[in-house]
Amino acid sequence: MAKHETPLLDQLESGPWPSFVSDLKQEAEKRAKNEAGLELQIPVDVVDDLLGVLELSFKHGKTHWKHGGIVGVFGYGGGVIGRYCDQPEMFPGVAHFHTVRVAQPAGKYYTTKYLKELCDLWDFRGSGITNMHGSTGDIILIGTTTPQLEEIFYEMSHNMDQDLGGSGSNLRTPADCIGQSRCEYACYDTQDICHHLTIEYQDELHRPAFPYKFKFKFDGCPNCCVASIARSDLSFIGTWKDDIRIDQEAVAGYVGGEFLPNGGAHAGRDWGAFDIQKEVVDLCPTGCMKYEGKKLQINTRECTRCMHCINVMPRALRIGQETGCSILAGAKAPILDGAQMGSLLVPFVEVNPDNDYQAIKDVIEPIWDWWMEEGKNRERLGELIKRQGFQRLLEATGIEPVPQHVKEPRTNPYIFWKEEEVEGGWTRDIDEFRKDHKR
């Protein structure tokens, strides 16, 4: 028998999709039975009370969680988010209901042993409810009490080789796509740089000194599987300089129907014979391809590395060999001012593990210095760029304006010359000028 009546939540279960309500009910039941005989460290009915408070919020049309709190593990300014219920008498099981963010491994590779240990720990010292994974990428453990926090942290850091993730005005846990571990499109080792920078910038991750949150995300190629271009203040997207490698025999294989386009995706329906002109050449956004005399050609100068042709014919087309990444700055979700995509800051930079990614750190650190000094409280990098102008970002990073920075000529961004950059400055010989120009 459920502890609280939840008619509004029950209704959610009637839809066609799997429901979190059913999952929570299952977990509530599991805790009540406690077949493993655990000495549960937080109230056994935590999940029942979670369902109860959610039902009440639906009824009232408002939240019953308080805003934030002073919890954390000693010395860490992030990783734990304090949550308290404002109806603790009615729902004592969730009076404290703190969230723990756990740094996910690069590429989100786990062993089953690790996942089992983590879940055992969370059944024992928390609610048992997890969110794999939150928007930042972290493993999110939802719901525990204050006395459990240090215990959980000790167990993770001493016995599981595991750190907490970022929250608050910190560097958030960097996230990446699976990259070269599984994906032939990857232009650099996303997992290595993601891990390296996570370790390198520990202080930024755990001790808040930024105006607001700051996210790195790493995509191995422009397919952007972690959507870095939309979701991170600094987005690292793999790209290449030289030609797309074309295997003309394999192109013929696709044209002749020997290979399924798109790696066989969408093959559940008969779309008719593959038409290279219609499905590849005509869809190239820059119109830089042609297929003539059974030969596919690409004008590399015009190619924007959009990945379309490679995605359709992966056996025939491969990324180039001179690989690196582009860096884009300022993406964010729509809290203030609407959503914003990243703006291209560095068209191409080498991704070099042999010198600890120095060329990339040389871009990151001046950006932080600028934003830490000039950013208003709760202002994301993208908002600062908008407020002070893209040109200020270029000055702060010492990056020269290049045509790739210009999205639409004369509008965005508009790069102004300064007097010292112009030969002869702003002064002119007025008599000389008047010879050609009447008053």
């Binding site: 308080k66 805003h67 002073i70 010395g75 988010i81 608050g168 005005s169 910190n170 607001y212 949150k213």
Partner: protein
């Protein structure tokens, strides 16, 4: 500036403001020290280690306060 001097400066300034405010952004503290953020961070972090300051977090934003002051009320804009 020495750690002790920095700590005194911050504690004094925060105590003065206690009536109206109990939580402060990092930049407010850096301004009290009249320092750029990076060097200020060293002092401020040490103050947390020494239990002279504590972190407060809403999940999205972090703030600093004197230990035990303000608590939840400030977050709900009640004080």
């Amino acid at each position: 500036m020495e750690q002790e001097e920095a700590a005194e400066k911050i504690i004094e300034a925060l105590k003065k403001k206690l009536k109206t405010k109990s939580k402060f952004y990092f930049n407010d503290l850096a301004k009290i020290l009249e320092m750029k953020p990076r060097p200020a961070k060293k002092f401020i972090t040490q103050m947390v280690v020494d239990c002279q300051l504590e972190y407060w977090s809403s999940g999205s934003t972090s703030m600093y306060g004197l230990p035990g002051t303000g608590k939840q009320a400030a977050a709900e804009h009640e004080d």
